[in-house]
């Protein structure tokens, strides 16, 4: 009889320890931050002066997966390197502690260009690229123009081309004239 009672008491103790261990495990699990779960997450926001670069070939085709090198003002070595996405876009946040002209070089298969982005000290909001210096037929820009490399529309380009052709035809006519 004593043996039976002792066994029952032992089983009760085991159950108590099991419950305590189970509840403790649950509490530990809930208290520990788990990646990928929406428990105990703190989301903050902070305004930054991010810059978006759009690189396109002159025909309008985006420079997808082009290599991008960002140079900080007065810096010879690259400050940041990366690649454009499928739309030719690249986003980066210049260090506000380094105001001045930031240079971004986009390059793919020997083609590309350099753009200069002025960054002012203490500017926290996004701002447009004020002065760009596209240098190539395949260039970086931010404006929705027909010819992103130079910022000219198709009509302007046509007039420019016609002017040069007219000058060359005039040269040809001058030298082709019959000598009196």
């Amino acid at each position: 009889m004593m043996t039976k009672m002792g066994h029952r008491a032992f089983m009760q103790k085991v159950c108590q320890w099991g419950n305590t261990f189970f509840i403790g495990s649950i509490a530990t699990f809930l208290a520990t931050p788990q990646p990928g779960q929406a428990h105990g997450v703190v989301i903050q926001h902070q305004p930054v002066a991010a810059q978006t670069i759009v690189a396109q070939y002159e025909a309008g085709k985006p420079m997808a997966n082009a290599q991008v090198t960002v140079y900080a003002p007065n810096g010879d070595s690259p400050w940041l390197q990366g690649t454009t996405d499928q739309d030719g876009r690249f986003l980066f946040t210049p260090d506000p502690a380094q105001p001045g002209d930031w240079q971004v070089r986009v390059r793919q298969a020997g083609h590309g260009g350099i753009i200069t982005i002025p960054v002012q000290a203490g500017v926290k909001a996004n701002h447009a690229i004020a002065a760009s210096t596209p240098t190539s037929e395949d260039s970086v820009t931010q404006g929705p123009t027909d010819f992103p490399g130079t910022g000219y529309t198709g009509l302007q380009k046509g007039v420019m081309a016609a002017s040069v052709v007219w000058g060359m035809v005039g040269t040809a006519s001058f030298f082709a004239r019959r000598k009196a």
Binding site: R107, G110, P134, K157, A172, S173
Partner: protein
């Protein structure tokens, strides 16, 4: 096909200008030896305008987009006038459209002008070698000159860019992109060869003196 400002180092730009100066001097010297040096200026001016506008004509060759060069045609029709004509055309392309750049004008002139001069020699010798069948010989020589000139330009462009890759660039990715661009030019090489042959045959029929070497 144009190397833009900042894509190659300053010594390469200077070397390009040096070579361009030398080749321009040699071309002008050859032109000056002819009995009437200004006789070829009208056709040189017209071909320069065609070369200038050609870079605006883009041909989509997936995954890239290429544009006409026409340096082989310049060599076939202009001969010794080809290099100065290419140089002037590239200058206007750089200033008006931003194709290439002023610092790389010399190296771009070498890339497109040197093959133009080689094309002139190919056309002249090919035409002489195939003189038994004049029409076929003219067409084949013009095709070879037009196609080889562009192929040489692609090889020169790729070699110069690959040999001057910046240290911080992923060289493997850049080489693969250059190779893709080179392959994309293969259809254009044949296209320019055919265009040069057709134009040479047309000129031979309507105004054959334009294809004659100036003496």
């Amino acid at each position: 096909m144009h190397i833009a400002d900042g894509m190659v180092s300053a010594p390469v730009c200077l070397a390009g200008y040096g070579l361009t100066g030398l080749m321009t001097w040699l071309s002008l010297k050859q032109i000056h030896r002819t009995s009437e040096p200004t006789q070829g200026v009208p056709k040189a001016a017209l071909l320069t305008s065609a070369f200038f506008v050609a870079s605006l004509i883009h041909i989509p060759v997936p995954p890239a987009s290429v544009h006409l060069v026409l340096n082989g045609l310049m060599g076939v029709v202009l001969g010794d006038y080809a290099f100065p004509a290419v140089l002037i055309g590239l200058f206007f392309q750089a200033v008006m459209f931003g194709h290439g750049g002023l610092s790389t004008l010399g190296i771009n002139a070498v890339i497109m002008g040197l093959p133009a001069l080689i094309a002139a020699q190919i056309f002249r010798r090919g035409r002489w070698l195939l003189r038994r069948t004049p029409r076929w010989g003219l067409g084949c020589a013009a095709f070879g000159a037009g196609a080889i000139a562009l192929a040489l330009s692609v090889v020169l462009f790729s070699s110069i860019v690959i040999m001057n890759l910046p240290a911080n660039l992923d060289a493997t990715v850049e080489r693969a992109a250059i190779l893709t661009l080179g392959v994309a030019h293969i259809p254009l090489i044949f296209l320019e060869g055919i265009f040069t042959a057709l134009l040479a045959l047309f000129l031979d029929r309507v105004k054959p003196e334009l294809l004659k070497e100036q003496t």
